[in-house]
Symmetry: C2
Subunit: 436 residues, 2 copies
Amino acid sequence: LSERNLKAFRETFLELHPTDQVEVFQSLELAGQKQVLLFLSPEEFSDIFQGLDLHEQSEVFNQLGFQYAVAMFNYMPADDVADFLLEMEVENADDILQSMDQEEANKVIELMAYAPRTAGAIMTKEFIHLSVQSTANEVIDELRQTAVDAETIYYLYVIDENHHLAGVVSLRDLIIAQPDQTVDEIMSTQVVSVFENADQEEVAHLIKEYDFLAVPVVTPDKKLVGIITVDDVIDVLEEEAAEDFDEFTASKGATDVNLTAFTAAKKRAPWIILLMFFGLITANIIGQFEETLEQIVLLAAFMPLIMGTAGNTGTQSLAVAVRGLATGSIEKTGVWKIVKRELGTGTMLGVVCMIVLMGIISIFYNGNWLLAFIVGVSLFFALSMAAVIGAMVPLVINKLKIDPAVASGPFITTLNDILSLLIYFSIATTLLDQLV
Amino acid sequence: LSERNLKAFRETFLELHPTDQVEVFQSLELAGQKQVLLFLSPEEFSDIFQGLDLHEQSEVFNQLGFQYAVAMFNYMPADDVADFLLEMEVENADDILQSMDQEEANKVIELMAYAPRTAGAIMTKEFIHLSVQSTANEVIDELRQTAVDAETIYYLYVIDENHHLAGVVSLRDLIIAQPDQTVDEIMSTQVVSVFENADQEEVAHLIKEYDFLAVPVVTPDKKLVGIITVDDVIDVLEEEAAEDFDEFTASKGATDVNLTAFTAAKKRAPWIILLMFFGLITANIIGQFEETLEQIVLLAAFMPLIMGTAGNTGTQSLAVAVRGLATGSIEKTGVWKIVKRELGTGTMLGVVCMIVLMGIISIFYNGNWLLAFIVGVSLFFALSMAAVIGAMVPLVINKLKIDPAVASGPFITTLNDILSLLIYFSIATTLLDQLV
């Protein structure tokens, strides 16, 4: 990128789709990025800035002059500006907001006030609203002037004189309508809307269910304050899926690959140490059975097999419950039916594993029938129990409205470890007592 | 729902959004559903049928007369008909296709021929195409006639005389254009399209990246054959997230809550038994250290703690790798940087856990320093190793393009079990040999 090529660069670069511009920009070294900044106006660069993630945005922001940054923010959708400013030091944000265009700044301030992960926090203020008296033709004329700034022009929201949401007209309706029909006549008054404090996941599921392109956000008294578009909803769905996964693996907030090793360790250590204390309970339980272990040391060899198989069965049942809760299919089927089914599945898995394992042990451990019997029977009970616990714990926790992170994979597995070892050593001790 | 209420029912019911109609229909018992069928025409019912899942569709289908079903299929989008027929017995499907409107049937047959999970299999044939010579005004007039059947009228695809994709016009462009401008002048020729055999996940990520509402599907020689809309893509993203989760918990294809206990057990048993065989390897390894165990039986008590803590650390690292691969952030950061960071994180977690555990054991186990030392040091090495394995295995597997299911949680955990026990008993045996 030499300065002589300015014109050629601008011509090729600005022809690209913004998403491709972002990709090119990201692929450049710092020096190249600075050059691009010099070549582009704040308005042109605002498209690229929006496409960067927060981490990259703050790096680039440090390269921007204050005036350039302020001008750029004026051209960005208010929700993107709000997201960025919320991540920054507040004093700096205030400076920027005071220098911005007053109307734009007010939108940003309004959005910044919403609690994170609510409809208000993810909505955009760049939407088109109509009044009921306009005709189809007038609306289309007006769209020609204002369409550039709006996030979507495919749904047009109709408000009455008190700014209350009165209806919705799709661009489709508008095209099909006669030019002199009024908005009043063509709008649909059955508008599905969400409240500003609605959970973002709820909004996402609504849009997904109804195949909407956008949904309006209203205050409790039905004043229209913003809209949420389908592309924002896709991001929310991905974010929520990622979160479920992080919770499931007890690594919430620590799966970001950009963290340093130290930060990652600091975030992950509490979970690991907490779970290690459960491990101490297990150690204590086994310690109680020291005598039994001394009699048959080989019992220790099968501890991992029993714990592991119970753990895997429990994890599968957990997956059934977590998926069923996420998709809502458990609400339909009923909690107890699932628990009963899991008990059935666990019992069957238990029978199969018991038979396979008894056979293997009696062959490979010189016909040690006692060991085969203890391990096999323990496995049967451990699997039946693990399947029920794996399914029931998340369902109960969900009913009690406790944070489901408590029911994540490692916790269920640790619980199953403790219980399956108790089963194993109880059976072993009882049998040995009988025999001796 | 009594017959006298027919008119009232139709008036209220047909006012509802199709998604709400589906919900009402689903909430009815069989008798009620039959009544609704009698009250609605095949065209009216087609909206409801589309909204049911395949399981429900086949139940309802058995209630429909053949003629009613055929008429209904004529009104349904061809992709939904194809999805349903693919789940049925083939003979029956042929009968239906032969009785359907020929043009509709051909679309369905074409869609049924695509491999599942490709762009071709999820695309819709209900799209609007324009020729380059039309003017904006002509297009708008035409839309007034044909808009009803199309899945989206917000993107209009332009084809040349050979049916090749030549450009795209958004309804937005069309509104802003002068009425007498030709499509040629207003269309964008830089169209992002996908091939018919592209993976559905690839298509979903493209639409997500570019915030498109739809993307055109073309043959290798650029003939336009269909479009994929954003609402279909949301379903694909949800499906893929669910699959990743199922693979992660080694319960692929078995998380459906509608399966019977027996079917679920049959699907889950292979994983459980396979993993149990790994457990036998562990048993065998521990058996080799029988002598060491006889010397300090309490070593057995800490096996679950070491395995569990290593397993949890490995699962966290696995989560980092799986998430990083899913979001593409690892491609940017580089594989080795992640593995190195995980080694760092694992080492730090190891140091912390070692110190905590050595303290606890020496206090609660009567100053058994030897035990404390063996357990603590083993934990340090086990965690460092588990973090690296958890991160590296999925990354290597991804490079080798093997099915990532092999790297699912239970497999990594089992691998970590085996290795951490090897570390534990090797350290214990070496130390005991030194002391004796």
